[in-house]
Symmetry: C2
Subunit: 210 residues, 2 copies
DNA sequence: TAGATTGTTAATCGATTAACAATC
DNA sequence: TAGATTGTTAATCGATTAACAATC
């Protein structure tokens, strides 16, 4: 079982490699990828060895081979289908983002408590929460994006789990309580920004150029 | 110098403590906060000791004292003012999010290359990039949110830095190249989701309930 | 008092890095 | 060949945890 850090790094590698490929490269040295991703060459070699990707002793690694290995690691075969709960600002921004489709992730439906929103036309159907179980079961959905206001987040989360959801990407500023068999990851926009502000100030104080 | 992990945990504590306070509590035990945040009681006590917050040997910690210490750590005095580059879906979702204001972060202006967008009415003014230096200098702005499309991310990033920006919260799926004195943090929505999907599948396979 | 919790020290654990032999 | 890079092992580093004395 590899760490979540490893999994995260793989996606960073993929981003850089896709870029390098577009720019015309076929091979990378570990130290080149290091410069692109701000991970050390040593760590990259270790990660690639964990992925069982073999390089050429003096010619670096074949980019396509790495990309294939990364995609295989994430299970690139079938399209992943997920649902969205909450059609507020964040929910709308998410369904308009084409990057998910590009990576074979399809948001098949959305849920919202507000009937006015249910009646509006979006690129995906919007249902009331009552429809959730039906869709999760019929389409065998495992993962949901939770983008509802903080005050209803725990309750909607509970409902999603009740319906069979086992993985949640949560945008609400709340520490969700979930059973052990449910995986939750939080995107806390305010916290992210606060951290950038904090670390920027620190850099000013202690940085090389202060 | 504390780790970025420590800084991140503090914001998680704050979220839970604010919640617990609203629910009517005045004090917390380390193990209670542990249950809320999914960090160990031991780590929480260590973090609080790093923050120089003292508890009562048998009565736990005073919530307000912790909250004050956390806010002091982040420098709660003055309001932080930042700018936004890119008024696409994500940019719009961000300026509509009231949580930033709640935490004393003010987005004072936005920039977009598209003149049509510049003319639209939003809750904050939208300028062409040429105005950037003027605003960054006049208002002494350090931090920017970068929410432009991937293809222009590096170029807009370079311009921001040119104007004096030293901290960037980047939403574009790109590994930005920046000088050493600039702090960058990335929010990769697609990657976050891909990780949730991956870990959810893994839990199915290896989890307690498989 | 007995029991429970803090605060801190020492031990553990795991992730990253350094180093270098293998090899193209 | 000489030089450069991989692949792996051992060393380091730091973060987390365990343990427990202090104490309310």
């Amino acid at each position: 079982m590899y760490s979540t850090d490893f999994t995260k790094r793989l996606l960073t590698y993929r981003l850089s490699l896709t870029h390098l490929k577009k720019v015309g490269l076929n091979d990378v040295y570990s130290h080149l990828l290091a410069g692109e991703t701000s991970h050390s060459a040593s760590l990259i070699r270790k990660d690639l060895s964990r992925l069982q990707v073999k390089g050429k002793r003096r010619g670096g690694y074949d980019i396509d081979t790495i990309l294939q290995a990364i995609n295989a690691y994430f299970g690139n075969k079938e399209r992943d289908r997920i649902i969205l709960a909450g059609m507020g600002n964040i929910g709308k921004a998410i369904i308009q983002n084409k990057d998910f489709e590009k990576h074979n992730i399809q948001i098949i439906a959305s849920f919202d408590l507000n009937p006015a929103i249910q009646r509006k036309k979006f690129s995906i159907p919007v249902f009331p929460m009552e429809k959730c179980r039906e869709i999760v079961v019929n389409y065998k959905i495992d993962v949901a994006i939770l983008a509802v206001p903080a005050f209803s987040a725990q309750s909607v989360c509970d409902q999603l789990i009740q319906c069979g959801i086992r993985g949640i990407l949560n945008f609400a500023p709340v520490n969700l309580k979930v059973p052990d068999n449910v995986y939750v990851s939080n995107v806390r926009l305010v916290d992210e920004l606060q951290q950038v502000i904090y670390h920027t100030k620190q850099k000013r104080k202690h940085g090389e150029y202060s």
